[in-house]
């Protein structure tokens, strides 16, 4: 791999990578069972540089901000490289957000360029507030012939002539603005520097190396912090290849492993569980004697790999299982949310290492990772090289808020010094997660200090962000909470959101109100939906500026009501 200590920016490192391995494959794009494209590093460079030049011809210069909103595909990486080459700051936006949220974050980030997939652009142009969009240049990918692009240009035609100028950036310069959440009025734009990414890349590739010939299967969108690191920067700075699958459908994910001889893959717990379910179904269909043999082999593998993984041995003991994954799989990275220990153990017993960890955008990507020495399904692993983790104000059991310090830590939230000061204290990032460290240095997560949930799909959901969907509800006031924030439970699995309703004097909770609540709830993306409601008998406590005192309200509810007695299914 490249010696990343010698580089000051992602753009410079990627530029050298393209020169170093010109004939190696760097990108394969597949959709269902079709292969759409395949590029070597040389071809990648030949495709990206004309785009960089086109951006520069359109006035984009060093320090300028460019947003990408795209599903998982090659054009994402080509566009990102062109932006870095031109010295730009990348704003990767989650394509699953609504068009309204896209507009809000484009405005907040002050992006001057937007590169967007056509169906998403169509949604943006049809949204109230589109006329106020201040992005100067919009490049739209995959637009059908003849459609009105509402002032945008076609990405495929954005090819400038002549060499673009490479614009160098410094270690401390902003590389990306990544929104960890907060579209509901106070966007949390994590400013990540080139140093943050280079340091993180060195730490991760020290544990999980890439090299030419390695194939990484990418199913998460590249705006996801994990995929950006292990599905772009990591493999590219090592001459490896990234296989983009443009569908998340389990049947095509399964067949991609053997087809492309995948080495690594990142996924969120929900996808991991789906793979587990698929395997278990196949095991259950086996004739009884074969199932018995399989169970014995799994038990034997478990015993022989108790102290450390032995990939070669596991592949020999359980060839059918490993061949179903292509025979060359070294590890699955799971992140974005807490993975169920029983699922991790299931895969480990088959000889498939699932590297579970813990991370947050504010800390680069990963903070801890399981090192398999030995495998510990119940923890989120040990701190990565260069990461300091400590527990703030531990209780007698050693449980307290997890704090992190490292060179991968973001310096600030974009344009929000107040939130930055609350989050980074004396150089330590206060994560808002509760945990403890055992004597062997493994971190355990047991809950959250903050009012938020993380779904199995890896989405952070802040209750404040979804309150807009309930505005106008016929009640006196309402407030959304993470149930665990009101009634703390020692778990970060199966977290739920609830709405607290304060009715008008004499108002009854009618069927019409319940129906309105349920209808609005159904209109939300599945990961943002409420699980139940609570009727609260008194007015909410408020600050002098009339903001709800959420912590105080949560405390009062927790004291007066039992969790089980008030949760009513919506």
């Amino acid at each position: 791999m490249l010696d990343l200590r010698q580089y000051n920016s992602l753009g410079a490192a990627l530029r050298d990578a393209l020169e170093r391995w010109p004939d190696e494959t760097c990108l394969i794009e597949a959709d269902r069972e079709r292969e759409d494209s395949r590029l070597t590093y040389r071809q990648f460079k030949e495709a990206a540089l004309p785009l960089a030049r086109a951006l520069q011809d359109l006035g984009f210069s060093g320090g300028g901000r460019a947003a990408i909103i795209m599903t998982n595909q090659s054009k994402w990486l080509l566009s990102a490289y062109a932006i870095f080459y031109a010295g730009g700051v990348l704003v990767p936006l989650d394509f699953k957000l609504s068009a309204r949220e896209h507009l809000q974050l484009l405005s907040h980030s002050k992006a001057e360029v937007l590169i967007v997939e056509h169906y998403l652009w169509r949604g943006i142009t049809q949204t109230e507030g589109f006329k106020d969009l201040k992005v100067g240049t919009v490049l739209v990918t995959e637009a059908p012939a003849g459609v009105d692009l509402a002032g945008a240009r076609r990405w495929e035609e954005a090819k400038g002539r002549g060499e673009p100028a490479f614009v160098p950036r410094g270690l401390k310069d902003m590389a990306c603005i990544v929104y960890s959440s907060g579209t509901g009025g106070r966007p949390k734009g994590c400013v990540l520097t080139h140093e943050n990414y280079l340091e993180q890349c060195m730490a991760l590739t020290a544990l999980y190396p890439f090299w030419p010939g390695v194939r990484y299967l990418s199913i998460l969108p590249t705006n996801h912090a994990i995929d950006f690191m292990v599905g772009f920067i990591g493999p590219f700075t090592c001459g490896a290849a990234v296989v983009h699958l443009r569908t998340l459908r389990p049947e095509y994910v399964r067949t991609a492993f053997p087809r492309y001889k995948i080495t690594y893959m990142s996924l969120v717990p929900m996808v991991l569980k789906n793979l587990e379910r698929g395997l278990k179904e196949r095991f259950a269909e086996l004739p009884r004697h074969k199932k018995l043999v399989l169970d014995c082999l799994i038990a034997l593998n478990r015993m022989l790999t108790r102290r450390r993984p032995k990939l070669g041995l596991s592949r020999r003991l359980l060839p059918q299982v490993h061949n179903a994954f292509g025979g060359e799989l070294r590890a699955l990275f799971v992140g974005g949310a807490f993975a169920d220990p029983s699922t991790l153990q299931f895969f480990y017993d088959l000889g498939i290492q699932v590297a579970n960890g813990y991370g947050l955008t504010e800390a680069g990507t990963a903070v801890t990772l399981n090192d398999f020495k030995p495998f510990r399904a119940d923890t989120v692993g040990k701190p990565l090289p260069g990461m300091e983790v400590r527990i703030i104000k531990p209780n007698p059991e050693g449980i307290g808020e997890v704090a992190v310090r490292s060179k991968t830590l973001m310096p600030q939230y974009l344009d929000d010094s107040e939130m930055t000061a609350e989050t980074i204290i004396d150089g330590w990032l206060m994560t808002g997660d509760l945990g403890y460290i055992d004597p062997t240095g493994h971190l355990y997560l047991v809950g959250r200090v903050k009012n938020m949930i993380v779904t199995e799909g890896g989405k952070n959901v802040y209750p404040e962000d979804i309150e807009a969907a309930f505005e106008g509800l016929a009640v006196k006031e309402f407030c959304v909470f993470a149930a665990n924030y009101i009634w703390p439970e020692r778990t970060v699995l199966g977290e739920k959101l609830i709405i607290v309703l304060r009715l008008e004097q004499g108002q009854e909770f009618t069927e019409a109100l319940r129906e309105d609540l349920a209808t609005r709830n159904r209109g939300l993306p599945d990961f943002k939906r409420l699980s139940g409601y609570v009727i609260w008998p008194t007015d909410f406590p408020r600050t002098t500026s009339m903001k709800i005192k959420r912590a105080l309200l949560a405390e009062s509810i927790g004291e007066r009501l039992q969790r089980q007695s008030v949760m009513v299914e919506l």
Binding site: T71, K96, Y119, R246, T247, L248, R249, P250, E251, M270, V271, N274, E456, G457, R522, P525, D526
Partner: protein
């Protein structure tokens, strides 16, 4: 002959009932299929593949974004028939 929306809905309900092993009589077009079938978004995508094969159309994953009930799903499919 082109299917009507009603026919499309009916066929979707039949396929969903078979795939997820629930009695078809328990399903209605307005049902939130995540809740009614107790499935996650990946299982909903699995259903989408079944529907693609049945209706002989191709639906990008994003067509499922924000869709939670059988009727809306049928409308999305109907536009491509």
């Amino acid at each position: 002959m082109r299917r009507t929306l009603k026919q499309t809905i009916d066929e979707i309900l039949s396929l969903a009932a078979t795939h997820f092993k629930v009695p078809k009589e328990q399903l209605t077009p307005e049902d939130d299929f995540f809740k009614k079938l107790g499935i996650d978004s990946l299982q909903a995508l699995e259903l989408l593949t079944r529907l693609e094969n049945h209706f002989q159309v191709e639906l990008p994953d994003y067509e499922m974004q924000g869709v939670t009930d059988f009727r809306t799903l049928a409308e999305r499919i109907q536009t491509r028939l």
